[in-house]
Symmetry: C2
Subunit: 427 residues, 2 copies
């Protein structure tokens, strides 16, 4: 008999079929066994009139008759005839995967990641993540962006930042890319619109629920813009398309977390950072410390404000101070202390950062001088601005944070398959 | 006036339009100027009855009248009325981008990558690369694979290999992933079928036309296989779909390299490595040195054999010796000196490597002992084989090599935007 996939079962009503998959639930009820089996195409309940000699999590092959059953998920079940154990467990797992909720400490969940990932509720996170990737790839192509892959090994720890990991590279040192920033800007001079999905590495010694040291950034850069609004409006459009995808394909996975559907407004509201500071001081009695641009509490309150004033889960905060933004950020023409830099806040947390960039060589050099950046090792980047770069800008969107916020996960680490933090390099 | 995109021009026949883009060619012919302009959606010739005050590679805005013109690319041209320079070059470029062929040394081409990428023939490589990524993403999803992203920072230089880059990771050392091998296998226990598109890092001191130290691997891993043929047949199917995509969407880019269309057989031929050794010795008088499994010359001859005997650009070479394959490769049940490991050769070069993997804990430990691998730092990987892993296997497909071989590029470095080798870490 040939294996059929579980999503093909309805086509075989009343007939015998052979399926293969993993046992993801096992219940006995008055002499009858119910064995839930999952393959890569779906899940199906198999019913047995006898004691089954198999264990939770086993890889099995089942022969049985497809039966219409209104109470079953998908309207069908399999009346089991024969079960073969393809592969079984040699040890008791450290926790019970058949429970509806795992209820593990984050540390335990992550220490036993290869096993905890098998739980349907954990699986759901990464099924949504898969849909998110597909949605971003598709939406970006629809908008005329070309997919690129840029190097993660760099000669110099440029961008003026300190948070680079150092590598031994043959006889030299090298550094891991914090972002594809320089390369995606260069590519605007080639394809005008580019996007990249790739890992970024941040040597930041954070211990928070919103940071990891390696994550997947959804990057974009686009040319011939009028101003930063072209960027935010394009990002808005992409977010709406992504959420449409998640609703269309991710329903069952969202439901695992009690989410009926996800909503993104066609017109995300905007606020200038300086105005936001005033508003949250007046409205919520919270004052952002003077020496920083924004902090997590202010982001949370920006989210609250967006919800209360605009009935929106999203808000763009714009015009971040030049002192807090990288040298390549374009300064506001009205107030050179401010920039055309923005963040996108979703449910009270920053999920994207972007800006209009400087596209003129002299302006770039002036900005660097002011920030005391030498430019050593960045010549290849600076030089391209001598060759007719158009006005441009882009964003970096944190893929894992989107999922964290949609599902209300306690930590972004739950949205990373094998997260990396200061203490964790394994599994 | 609103900007329109160049691919929308046919809809505006006879009307005035405003376009923006980069000048990618500039010819003067008896008082008339022909200015070829490119935006992210296409290319269009603009014609001027006067001397144009603009330079090659400038970013410009043009207002003009759309005119039907049979001799023009796409059947239309723009009769220019007004040109505005949005951004111009401050320096003469180091080579002439308006020439049909750049004819640069590889070193020059790569040293000036931000500029050389603007040449239409170089652009074509990365437009095809974009289509390749889209094709792989789409084909893998069609076959039920879930997209995953696994960590590139590892605690241990495992897999038994020596070619790992070492990183300073806070107070510890870490290593850059050579492949997603362990993680994609673990994920077979979760989703049964997974794929990943991501960078891999190889600290191999190669100086060849077929190696770079960072490249994008198209990985896959699948469970519940009967034998290694399930893997090679799935890879065959994926290759056929990718080539279909390249023909459908990549025509103009392929033509830049004189390629009319690309062909992949529905049934790629197979040969055992031991047979291949005999055949190329007898037929082509070449003997693979006794201490290695295969070398580039033998791959070239395998390609020649596939073409001559099977009229195929592809051939699977199977049953590589256990001594030359990683410990997780399943040994042949008929001859334990051999494995169910394979390579896929395309036009005489290996583009993919794969195998059926060991899925039983005891067998894995036995293989490791034989290869004198300690298993330190690999516990998370080894332990999952105590929990009912199904028979499985997969491949790693070199994305850049596919493009190299399709276009007949002299070096794989031409198919990488910003390649990394022993000497090159910039741009």
């Amino acid at each position: 008999m040939q294996r059929i996939l579980i999503n093909e079962i309805p086509k075989h009503s009343g007939k015998d079929v052979l399926i293969q998959g993993r046992i993801i639930n096992f219940r006995k009820l008055g002499g009858i066994s119910f064995v839930l089996i999952q393959d890569y195409a779906g899940k199906i309940q198999t019913v047995w009139q006898e004691e089954i000699n198999a264990k939770m999590s086993d890889s099995v092959e089942v022969v049985g008759t497809v039966k219409k059953e209104e109470r079953a998920r998908g309207g069908f079940e399999i009346v089991g005839k024969k079960i073969k154990i393809i592969s079984t467990s040699a040890e008791e797992p450290p926790f019970d995967l058949s429970k509806t909720k795992l209820n593990l400490q984050l540390t335990t969940l992550l220490d036993h990641r290869p096993l905890s990932l098998r739980h349907p509720k954990v699986q759901a996170i990464f099924k949504l993540y898969d849909i998110l990737l597909e949605a971003y790839e598709t939406a970006m192509r629809d908008e005329g962006f070309t997919e690129i892959k840029t190097p993660k090994l760099l000669e110099a720890a440029s961008e003026g930042g300190a948070n680079f990991f150092k590598i031994h590279y043959f006889e030299k040192n090298a550094y891991l890319a914090q972002s594809p920033q320089f390369y995606k800007q260069i590519m605007v001079g080639v394809f005008e619109r580019v996007f990249e999905i790739g890992p970024v590495f941040r040597a930041e010694p954070h211990f928070t629920t919103r940071h990891v040291n390696e994550y997947i950034s959804l990057d974009a850069e686009m040319g011939f813009i009028k101003d930063y609004r072209d960027i935010t409006e394009t990002l808005n459009k992409i977010i709406v398309k992504i959420f449409g995808y998640l609703n269309e394909k991710g329903g069952p996975y969202l439901k695992e977390y009690g989410v009926e559907f996800v909503e993104a407004p066609e017109k995300i509201p905007y606020i200038k950072l300086s105005e936001l500071r005033e508003i949250i001081k007046k409205k919520y009695k919270y004052e952002i410390p003077g020496n920083i641009d924004i902090d997590p509490e202010a982001e949370r309150l920006a989210g609250k404000y967006a919800k209360e004033e605009h009935d929106s889960d999203f808000i763009f905060i714009t015009h971040y101070p030049f002192k807090d933004r990288p040298f390549y950020t374009m300064r506001s023409r009205e107030n050179p202390e401010e920039t055309y830099g923005f963040d996108l806040i979703y449910k009270g947390m920053e999920i994207a950062t972007g800006s209009q960039r400087v596209h003129l060589y002299d302006e770039l050099i002036k900005n660097m001088k002011e920030k005391k950046i030498s430019g050593k090792g960045m010549e290849f980047y600076l030089d391209i601005f001598k060759f007719a770069m158009p006005p441009h800008g882009g964003w970096g969107l944190g893929s894992e944070r989107i999922i964290q916020q949609i599902l209300g996960l306690g930590s972004v680490k739950e949205a990373v398959l094998f997260p990396r933090d200061v203490k964790r390099l394994s599994p």
